[in-house]
Subunit: 106 residues, 2 copies
C-alpha cells in the first residue's frame, strides 16, 4: 500500500472527514473527547483515527494515559498539487472565489 493510497482511503469515509473537521476546529483532542462528538462506540472511532494516523493526516502525542491528536495539512496540500499546477491554480482559485461570492448573494 503506497502513501497516497493510505491518504485517499483515509479521506474516503465521512466519519473520518468529520474527525478531521473537528481537529481543524480545535487540535490536540483525546480519543474519548472525539468519541463524545460521534454516534459510535469508542472502537469505531479508534479504528478511524488509526487509519488517519497511518495516512499521516493526523499526528499524535502521548501525555500520560492520554493520546492527543493533531491535524497535519501537508498530505492534503500534496493531493492538491497532484492535479493543479501553478499555472491553473490562479484560475481555479479565482473561479472558486467567484462561486463563493455568488452564493453569498440573496
Amino acid at each position: 500500500m503506497t502513501d497516497d493510497d493510505r491518504v485517499f482511503k483515509a479521506l474516503a469515509d465521512p466519519t473520518r472527514r468529520f474527525l478531521l473537521d473537528l481537529l481543524f476546529a480545535r487540535d490536540g483532542r483525546t480519543l474519548t473527547e472525539l468519541e463524545s462528538e460521534l454516534e459510535m462506540t469508542r472502537f469505531g472511532v479508534m479504528k478511524h483515527l488509526r487509519l488517519l494516523e497511518e495516512a499521516g493526516l493526523v499526528v499524535t502525542r502521548r501525555s500520560g494515559r492520554e493520546k492527543l491528536h493533531f491535524l497535519n495539512p501537508v498530505p492534503i496540500r500534496l493531493v492538491h498539487d497532484r492535479w493543479i499546477d501553478k499555472y491553473t491554480e490562479h484560475q481555479v482559485t479565482a473561479l472558486v472565489d467567484l462561486k463563493h461570492r455568488l452564493e453569498d448573494q440573496p
Copy 2:
C-alpha cells in the same frame, strides 16, 4: 449521497486516480483511448469514468459516437480549502517546497 461524498469516494480508488493523471497529462480522450492504457476490460474503465463524472472531477462532451473526457480541477481545490485556510496555506506551501528541494539533493 452528498457532493463531497462522491468526490472522496471517486478519489479513493487507484485506477480512478490514474485516469485523472492521464487526463491531467492530456485532456479530451475517449473511453477506448483510456482503456488502452489500463490492464482492465472496457467495462471496468467505464464504471470508473462514470463515478469520476458523477463526482464532477471529469466533464464529458459527446462528438458523434465518441465521448470525450476532460479533467475538472475545481472539486480538488475545494478539498484543499476544507482543511487548509489562507493563514496556514503559506506555511504548508513553503514546507512542501522545502521538502521538494531537499529531495532533489544527491
